[in-house]
Symmetry: none
Subunit: 223 residues, 2 copies
DNA sequence: TCCCCCGTAATGCTGCCGCAATCTTCGCGG
DNA sequence: CCGCGAAGATTGCGGCAGCATTACGGGGGA
């Protein structure tokens, strides 16, 4: 899952990015609305976290701006104050939810799940492949009801493949699912993850194989 | 899919061509508007990537020039600066989208998909033939929901034929779909691809046949 | 401090793909 | 109806790009 965080308090932003990263969420961060707009044009996010007070204006103005482009990416508004009036304001403008600072990361996670669960969401709640069940929102994986814990990056690769099971996933798509654009990789890190993931899946008897399509990408299917 | 890239920075152009090639996109490249115009007369492109600053003039002038000939090929403008004003400028002249440099190739891919998705587009999102379903944008092929992985060049041939199923596709069109004009071929490489593709389709029970029209080209139809 | 994740790079291997040789099919003219 | 030439079909081969695997070491968390 990939989020855009629009927030000018650097400390909060860093802490949040770190916490989300541990939960398997890739976060792009910006402090200005102008950049944010550009980023939404360039990437496809699962959700947007939007602060209200920003250096170049009131965050809420961003919402109609974005909606006008036809994007319906869920937006969760972050605000220091927590009054009902402000909440209505945001929601009227097309925000999907609202979170008062300070907040627990787990509360944010819960709201994220709630927001992503709404149709039309491409995010399925459960994906069944082979003997595995994958929950892309909670990032949990079980083999015949026995939980399997995978390293974070391998997990992200697996989820990205599972979401499009039986279909080719371009190499570049996988890279985007695992890294944000500050983390450059210049080696075969992705290949290595795939290799290690394969091994783990085999050991766990997951009933899944990952195939390579030479020059195109990878594909996950039941064996 | 075939693109025309009009861009004078050689490094960027080469890198981009390479990256697109890995995503199954054939790119023709030129640095001058004059050549570009000629190329659009000779070839049919799915989209055009247009830089603004070019040795022989402002790139935007190309847009009305092209539109006047009745071509509605989508144009994506590449620009170093990223200001709203410039965006409007381009869009008013008939560009379909714009992209600020530097950009990620995946941003470009997303925009391409968006632009090609707009009606009236010849590029269908899903093509059904025989027992196959082909997704030309994600480059995935399934036979009765079972994924079929094809080598890149065979895949490109198949997509080109499927896009015009039941109609003859000129040999030269197929060559253009698989090779850019820097990759010369002097043998019957295309014939070889067709042959191997046929074999694979047969083995997979795709319910498709590829016929030859002697001296003209090939034709794909359900059996 | 220990452990494990994860990026890096070296190594070996797979199979794509261009090429060309050989065989087959097609269409035309006599 | 037959023969001939051109176009296409098929297949083996070799080079090489892309991928798989694994060992190593830095670094961060418990």
């Amino acid at each position: 899952m990939r989020l855009l965080l629009i927030e000018d308090e650097k400390e909060l932003a860093d802490a949040l990015s770190g916490a989300l990263s541990k939960r398997g969420i890739v976060t792009d961060h910006t402090t200005h609305l102008a950049d944010a707009f550009e980023l939404t044009r360039q990437n496809s996010y699962d959700a947007i976290l939007l602060d209200r007070r920003l250096p170049d204006g009131e965050g809420l103005t961003f919402i109609p701006m974005l909606r006008r482009t036809g994007t319906d990416t869920p937006i969760i508004v972050l605000t220091a104050r927590n009054e009902p009036l402000e909440r209505v304001e945001g929601l009227d403008l097309g925000a999907d939810d609202y979170l008062g600072k300070p907040f627990l990361v787990d509360e944010l996670m819960a709201r994220l799940r709630a927001v992503l669960r709404r149709p039309p969401s491409l995010t399925e709640l459960q994906i069944s492949v082979g003997r595995m069940v994958i929950d892309p929102l909670h990032l949990s994986v079980t083999v015949e009801s026995i939980p399997l814990d995978l390293p974070r990056r391998e997990l992200l690769v697996l989820v990205a493949l599972a979401k499009r099971k039986d279909k080719t996933v371009l190499r570049s798509t996988l890279e985007a699912a695992v890294y944000n654009y500050e983390e450059e990789i210049q080696s075969n890190a992705l290949d290595a993850h795939i290799s290690r993931l394969r091994k783990r899946l085999l050991d766990a008897g997951a009933g899944i194989t990952i195939h390579n399509i030479r020059g195109v990408g990878y594909l996950l299917k039941e064996e």
